[in-house]
């Protein structure tokens, strides 16, 4: 081990009650030269107020088109051990459920070939192994994929399907109206080829939330947002309602008054819901989960289009399929996704996300391609401008 450089700026971030990433880097640095150089280079960034990584870089694993982000230092004379400092993205288990055995195995591999630093997890959901050299990448993959128990595969990067992710789901949450974890796992397996071989115009993300609370932020952070919901009436246990009232819970103020459609009322004894006017926002169920439960006719709303700002400004997904029953093997969902991707793949420009393409070509063309009927649930309001199109067959042709 070479003598570690002084890092006064970073050291300051070891103080305070919140766990410190600097401490973590130092722990890794104690045994690993790359981590040590990372610490040094980061201190330099703190001095210079800028990153010291070069632009991009392509590295990978045999048989895969993505899953590794190449990264090279622009100050490698000073910090030779981060000259290469690539990250490996491992596909997390659905819902981020782990047994410690699975995690320990990964740590052991990463101790041998990597910096010893990770992100648990990346924003898309992957296990991020932070910093290794080009020559180790294949070995890392070979070892993690060969674990006898809980073998890992690579996650996505590049213009492909990105690692899908799911909320805690029915294993842990009473609100799950679809098996979000299973759907995530099943889709990930079904679409392995799309995940690992970048062949599309750009990235495409799937996130699955068991209910409209959307605990994986699917509407904002994924092109394809799948959220559990229901169609029939909310189930009310009036006894339990009264128990809430008896405990002094302010049903009127905290629940009834906050219902977005004002479709609830409480007379001090019975809670009434005008279900046809309920938009299933979850609020009352969230606040009174001992008394209220979603109905039994359950499925998912599918929204398409969520993404970050570049190019046209950030987008949130919008309703494409208001309700789809989702039972294994999820055939209808898979066929639907295939249609969406096929159309996008055929029509999308380079670096055009599927939502951007729908905006460019119009919902009418998209809906025809994926064979869906337009319905009012897709929009907040009909168009206000008079610039609409007619299909040739709808007008009298000479």
């Amino acid at each position: 081990m070479t003598e570690a450089k002084k890092t006064p700026l970073l050291d300051d971030l070891e103080k305070g009650p919140w766990p410190s990433f600097v401490t973590e880097i130092k722990r890794a640095a104690a045994n690993n030269l790359s981590a040590q150089d990372l610490l040094g280079q980061l201190e330099l960034s703190y001095e210079d107020k800028k990153a010291h990584w070069k632009h991009g870089g392509l590295v990978g694993v045999m048989g895969y088109g993505g899953g590794v982000i190449g990264r090279y230092s622009d100050v490698h004379e000073q910090f030779p051990h981060v000259e290469h400092f690539h990250t490996v993205r491992l596909n997390q288990p659905s819902g981020w459920y782990y047994h410690t055995k699975a995690l320990r195995q990964v740590c052991d591999v990463w101790e041998k070939y990597g910096s010893g630093l990770t992100n648990l997890h990346g924003s898309t959901g992957d296990v991020i192994l932070l910093g290794t050299k080009t020559e180790h990448i294949q070995t890392i993959f070979d070892e993690v994929s060969a674990f006898e128990e809980h073998p890992f595969d690579l996650g996505g990067s590049g213009s492909n399907l990105r690692t899908p992710s799911s909320c805690a789901g029915p294993a842990r949450c009473e609100f799950a109206m679809i098996d979000s974890t299973d759907i995530c796992h099943d889709l990930t397996n079904e679409f392995q080829d799309y995940l690992h071989r970048p062949m599309w115009p750009y990235k495409c993300k799937i996130k699955v939330s068991g209910c409209p609370n959307d605990c994986v932020a699917s509407i904002a952070r994924s092109d394809i947002s799948i959220q559990g919901t229901w169609r029939d009436d909310i189930k009310i246990n009036q006894e339990a309602v009264r128990a809430y009232a008896a405990e002094g819970f302010d049903i009127q103020g905290l629940v009834v008054d906050k219902c977005p459609t004002k479709c609830m009322s409480f007379d001090g004894n019975e809670l009434t819901i005008d279900n046809p006017n309920c938009t299933r926002c979850m609020h009352c169920i969230n606040k009174m989960c001992k008394a209220l439960r979603p109905g039994d006719d359950r499925g998912a709303t599918i929204l398409i289009g969520g993404k970050a700002p570049i190019l046209q400004g950030a987008m949130m997904g919008w309703v494409i399929v208001p309700f789809m029953k989702l039972e294994p093997p999820y055939e209808e969902l898979k066929e639907f996704l295939e249609k969406v991707w096929e159309w996008w793949d055929e029509n999308g420009k380079t670096r055009e996300r599927v939502g951007e393409l729908i905006l460019r070509l119009g919902m009418r063309n998209f809906l025809r391609a994926v064979e869906l009927e337009p319905i009012p649930q897709m929009v907040l309001a009909p168009r206000a401008n008079p610039f609409f199109f007619w299909w040739p067959e709808e007008t009298v042709q000479d």
Partner: protein, 352 residues
């Protein structure tokens, strides 16, 4: 050659027996205290969850320590949350307090449930990315140190979700957060005309600009940027290493408020610009920390019970938000991008 396309490890194999047995049968939950949930099944079974903080950028030593605790208290069953916290999944209520004591001993706080400020979703920053306008982990650490009491308590009017992204690519998808911290570049990229044609395709490059600021310069086999159209998004840099967007003298932090994801009550909302500029001031970004803290506390002091930031601002109006916060309203706050028209006040209704 190794097998490819084996897919992720099967989550089902990682579920504690209680979760398998009560899969889909959970009936309700309660928050027993900050960071501790109990989920009760139709069968009467009870699952206890202890939620602990993580800096997300963690070493294998940290992970192993966590694993040790999971082995000790919950047969090795644990999970991570969508906001990078650690959740221990316990079947034994009696294990809760010992686990918390062990965690605290290691400097790992427990909290982040209910009406708290939970972990900050964030990105790579100077640690591992090539385009950041600021660091990620450092600001997060500084902010969470300051807001610590709101992680370990549940005294806020509602949930408060903070996120950080270090450039406009917004890997943290911060755009729908109660408070978003966003790194921004503020100057027009400079161009390495000599090398550009060797490494970049000019048509792709010109097409990459959201405001059509990039024009081919055939004489130099390069491009020019029309300065007055450039809003420093950095997408041209993503497409082409010969365009340099990073500018330490001007790169900065901006603050956005009032976003939301859940459909609960009001639907999802974008965060909107509150503070266009705060200096990049490592290691602790005091201006940013203070600004975030002020916003949290202003909201906490004024929101009605259950009101997220967005709902509070909806009720009082943006003009009152600026008045109460004392934040300056500038021309930067007025949208001038493609949907600007929809943000203009086409009514005489406003507050003074």
């Amino acid at each position: 050659m190794a097998r490819t396309d084996i897919g992720p490890p099967l989550y089902r194999d990682m579920l504690p027996p209680i979760c398998k047995e009560n899969y889909g049968k959970w009936s309700y939950h309660e928050i027993l205290k900050p960071g501790v949930l109990v989920h009760v099944s139709e069968t009467g079974a009870k699952l206890y969850t202890v939620r602990a903080a993580s800096p997300r950028l963690v070493s294998i030593y940290f992970i192993r320590e966590i694993c040790d605790l999971a082995d000790k208290y919950c047969d090795g069953y644990m999970r991570f949350t969508s906001r990078n916290n650690i959740e221990f999944l316990l079947s034994e209520e009696a294990n809760i307090d010992p686990l918390i004591a062990d965690l605290n001993a290691k400097g790992i706080p427990v909290g982040g449930t209910g009406n708290s400020i939970t972990n900050i979703v964030h990105t790579q920053g100077w640690v591992h990315c090539h385009t950041p306008a600021t660091d990620a982990s450092g600001i997060v650490k500084a902010v969470m140190d300051e807001l610590f009491e709101y992680f370990t308590s549940m005294k806020l009017p509602a949930k408060m979700r903070i996120a950080l992204a270090c450039c406009l690519n917004m890997c943290g998808a911060v755009h729908c957060s109660d408070i978003a911290i966003l790194g921004i570049h503020r100057t027009v990229p400079t161009i390495d005309h000599e090398n550009l044609h060797k490494v970049c395709e000019i048509p792709t490059l010109t097409a990459s600009c959201p405001t059509a600021a990039i024009r081919p310069n055939p004489k130099l086999k390069s491009v020019d940027i029309k300065a007055e159209r450039c809003m420093y998004c950095g997408n041209c840099y993503t497409m082409c290493p010969s365009v340099h967007i990073i500018d330490p003298k001007n790169d900065a932090v901006s603050i956005w408020v009032g976003g939301k994801i859940s459909n609960s009550r009001i639907g999802p909302r974008f965060s909107r610009l509150a503070i266009p500029f705060l200096p990049n001031n490592p290691p602790r970004w005091p201006e940013t920390v203070e600004a975030v803290k002020n916003l949290v506390e202003l909201w906490a002091a004024n929101a009605q019970p259950g009101e997220r930031m967005a709902e509070w601002i909806d009720r009082i109006s943006w003009e009152k938000f600026f008045e109460l916060s004392g934040l300056e309203f500038t021309d930067k706050h007025i949208d001038d991008f493609t949907l600007a028209q929809t943000t203009f006040r086409s009514t005489t209704q406003f507050k003074w």
